[in-house]
Symmetry: D4
C-alpha cells in the first residue's frame, strides 16, 4: 500500500521537510504546492504576460498554481493542512474544504491557540495534530500498524 | 428558474440582510449557517451533554452545525462567501473550498484590502464583489438578464 | 428548508414515535424501514412464492425490503441509526456504513454501554445521542437555530 | 488482472491467514485494518495525546484507523467481511454497508447460526461463505475460471 | 414517499395496464417507452427525414426514443423489466443492465421458462416476479408495509 | 413527465421563439442564456466594475453569464444547440461538449452546409435537426408518443 | 496509451481468439467472462454448496460470475459485445446496457440479420461491426491512427 | 508526479510538436486525436463499410474517433485546446466544454484576434496562452516550480 499525501498550507517554516524526512522509510509519495513564494506569486505574468492591474497579476498566478494544487488534492489519499502563526492562510482553509468535499482523509496541523478558530475545519478532519512528527507517526501507523516507541 | 443561494461567512455585519432584502422580489431561496454566535458555539454541549475539555466542547458544536451547513452547500446553485474585517474566518474559506469542489457557482465578497490574501479563493469564483448590492445585481441579472439601472 | 430524515435500526421500542411526535412542528419528513417484524421477515415469500430453504426465505424478504430502505437512505439528508439493548442489529450498522459512504449526515443513537463497541460507527457520525429527544433537539436547532429551553 | 481484496471484520481467529496463504499463488493484493487490538484501540491517544474521557480516547483512535480502512475499502475490488462468534462486530457490518454503497463486490463470511441476523447484509453480497477456503476458491475462480478439484 | 417506477420491455401484452391499474391507489408515478410499435420504429425518419438505408432508419428512431427512455431510467426509483414469450427483447435486457449500473432497484418479470437464460439479469435484481400483480404487491408493500390479504 | 430543455447557441434569429411557441401546449420548461447581446457582453463590468483591458472586460462578463448557463445545462434533460449562419459560435460548441460530458440528451440544430464541420458534435447527439419545428416534434413525441400529422 | 478491452457475449465461436490474436501486436489488455460454460454455470454451488432448487443453483453461479464481469466492465475503456446466432444472449445485452450507463466506449458485433432487433443497443455504440477483424482494425486505428492496408 | 496532457484542436500547424519537443525533458505523457486528416475522415467507412450518404460517412468516422478522444480527455490531467486561423474548429470548442464538465485543468491556446469570440471558453480555463512555448513553460512550472529564465 502506497499512501499519496498532499501537504497544504503554510510555507514559511520547515514542517514539510520534517514530515518528508521523518517518513523517508515509508511507502509514501508527497505532493504539494510550489513553495517558492516569489515564483508562486509571479508565475502567471512571467509565463503568460504582464498585467497592469495587481488583481489580474495575482489572478493569473493563482489560476496557474491551481493546475498543480487541484491535481495534488484530487490524487491524494491523505491531505495534511498546516496553519502557522502568521497571515490569513485562507488558501489553506480553502484546500481543507476542497479535500473534505472530495472525501479525502484530512489531517489538520496547528497549534492549540488556533483550535477555536479552526473548529469547523477540525470537525472535518480524521486527526488534528500540533507537531509534524505526529503526522509522521500517523502515516507510519496507517501503513504498518506500529505505534511510536514508548507509546503505551 | 429558482436560484438556491447559500450565504456563508462573516456573521457580524448586516450583509445577509442587505442581500436577502435586496433580492426580495426575485425567485431566490436563501440558506446559511446559524448566525446566533452563542448558539452556534454551544449547540453541541447544550443538546448532547457538557464537555470538560474546551476542544471537545467546540468539536461537538462544529459537528452539529455541519448538519446544516453541508445540506445548504450541497443543495445550493450559488454559494456566496463573505470575508469581513475581523477574525481568521477560516470556516468561510473552508466553505469556499467545499463549494468549489462540488462545482457550485461561487461568488466571493470582500474588500480590496484582502484581494492578495484571497487570490486562490477568488480564482475559484465566478464573481468577486465588494458590496452585497453587487451580489443582488448578479442574482437579478442571472435570473432576468436585466442590468442595474444606469449600467451602460 | 425541509429536512429528510431516515430512521434506521431497532424496532422494538417507541424511539421512532418519540422523534416523529417531538418533531411534529418542524419541517421534517421521515422515512424508515417497515417496522412490522413479521411482515418484514415474510414479505419476499408472501409476494413472490414460498421457499423450502429458510436462507432463501430470508433472502427474498431482505431483497424486497432493500427497495424501500435504499430509497430512504439515498434520499435522506440525515440518517439516524438507533442501537438498542438486544439482538445483533447488524442491519443498523450496515445502514450506518451505507449512509456514511453516501456522505449523509449521520446521527447515532445508543446508550453509553455500547460506546466502545460502536466507536467506528460513532466516528462517522456528526452527532452521538442517547435519547430520542436529543435527536429532536438537533433537528430543531438545524432548522431554526433555536436551542432547547434552559440550555445555556 | 489483479484483484484488490479488503479483509474486514473479526480479528481473533486465523481466517485472514487462511485466505492470504491459500491465495498465495494468485494475483491478489490484500489489505485490511490494523489487527493488533491494543494498538488499534490506543493509536489516537498514543500519537495525538491522552484523553481524560474514555469516549474521546476511543474516538481519536477510531478516526486514525479510518484513514487506513477508508483507503482500503475505496481501493478494493472485493470486500470480504467476516462475522465471528463473539462481540457485536458492528464495525464489520458498518464496513459491509460502506462497501455496498460504493458498489464493491461483497463477500460475507459467517456461520449458519448468524444467517437470519445477517440477512440484510447477505442480501447486498455476491457470495455468502462459511469457510475462508471458500473465499480462496472464489478468488481463484474469478481470476482463472478454475473450480476446486472434485467440484463437479 | 412517492415511488417513481419505469416499466421497460415487452409491449405486446397488457402487463403495463395490469400494473398501473393495480397500483391506482398508490403513491406511484409510472413512466416507460413509447409503446406504439409503429411510431417507435418510425419516429426518427418521420421527424428528421427519410433514410434510404434501413439501418439508419432504425438508428434515427432508436436515438430519438433514447431521449425518453434515458430520462425515465435515470429518474426512476424502481425499474421493472418484463421479458415476454416472443422476440429477442435485447432492449429489455439492455435497460436492465443500464438500470443496474445506475444503482436502481430492479424488478424482473418473466416466466419460469426463461429463468436460466436470464440468470445474470435476475442476479442484479431485488425481486424476480412472474405476474404483474406481484409487482403491484411489491410496490404496495414498499410504500405501506402491507402484505397481500391472505399472505401469512 | 416534465422535460427541462436548455436552448443554447445562436441568438440572432427567432429559433428560440419558434420552439417555445411551438411547444406551448407541452409539459416543457425552457431555459437558456441571456440573449440580450449587449447586456451579456457587459454584465461583468456593469455590476462588478469597469476594466481597462478589453480581455478582462469580456472575462468578467463570461464568468457572470456562466452562473446562469451552468445551472441551465446541469438541470436540463435535453440540451438543444443551434449553429447559425454567422460567427464562430464556439460557445455553442462548448455547451454541446459540456452537455455531452454530463450525459444530457443532446439535439443539434443546423443547416446541411455545416454537417461536415459539426460531425464530432453531431456524433454526440441523439438527434440532428435543421428546423426548430423538428425540435418541437421531437419534444412532442418524447412526451406523448405522437408523431406529426401526416408522418407515416 | 494502453487500451483495456472487455469482450462480452457469445461463447460458442472463436471470435475472442480472432480479436486477441489479431491484436497481438497492439498495446491492449483483454478481459472477459469465464468462457467455460459448465464452470460458469456451476461455480456457485461448486464452491458455496449445493442447492436443491435449480433457480438458486443458477443464482449463486451468476452472483459469483458477477465479481469478475463487474470488475472487467468497470475497468474497461472499450466494451465489445458479441451477439451470435443462437440463444437469447440476454446477458450480452445486459452488459451492453451496463457499459453504456458507465459511459464506456461500446462496440457491438453482430450479423446484419440482428440489426433491427439490436437497434437500441447499436444506438448506444460508437461502432457496429460484423466481423472480429473489424474490431481489431478499430483498436489498431484508435491506438496508432493507421487504417487497414488497402483502405482508401 | 506525471502530468497527463491531452492536446486538442487545430491540426494544420506544428503546435503539437513545439509542445511535445519543448517538454521533452519533463515527466509528461501526451495524447491527442488522430492528426492524419484523411484517415480521421475516412476511418469509419474504411473499417466498417462504405456509406452512400456523406452524412453517415462522416458520422461513422466521428464515432470511431470518439473512442480515442474520449479516453484521452477522460484520463488527462490537463487539456490544451488550440484554436487556429482557419476553419470553424467546433470540435476543439466541443472538447473544451467536455473537459470543463469533467473538471479537467483547461489551457486554451489562441491568438488575440479570437479573444472575444472565445470568451466563454477562456472563462472555463486556468490559463490562456498565445504560443505553444507558453504551454511548455506552464507544464515545466507545474511540475518543478521553475519559471522561464529571465522571468522576473
Amino acid at each position: 500500500m502506497t499512501l499519496k499525501v498532499y501537504l497544504s498550507g503554510e510555507i514559511h517554516t520547515d514542517w514539510r521537510e520534517r514530515i518528508t524526512e521523518g517518513a523517508g522509510d515509508l511507502d509514501v509519495t508527497f505532493s504539494g504546492p510550489v513553495t517558492d513564494h516569489a515564483a508562486s506569486d509571479d508565475c502567471g505574468v512571467a509565463i503568460l504576460g504582464a498585467e497592469a492591474d495587481k488583481y489580474w497579476h495575482d489572478h493569473k498566478g493563482a489560476m496557474v498554481n491551481a493546475i498543480r494544487t487541484r491535481k495534488g488534492l484530487m490524487e491524494a489519499d491523505v491531505v495534511v493542512v498546516r496553519f502557522g502563526e502568521k497571515y490569513k492562510q485562507w488558501n489553506a482553509a480553502f484546500d481543507a474544504g476542497y479535500a473534505a468535499a472530495l472525501g479525502k482523509s484530512l489531517i489538520v496541523l496547528h497549534g492549540a491557540e488556533h483550535a477555536h478558530a479552526l473548529k469547523e475545519v477540525d470537525a472535518a478532519a480524521l486527526a488534528v495534530a500540533s507537531e509534524p512528527e505526529q503526522v509522521v507517526a500517523i502515516l507510519r501507523y496507517v501503513l504498518s500498524g506500529r505505534l511510536p516507541a514508548g507509546a503505551d
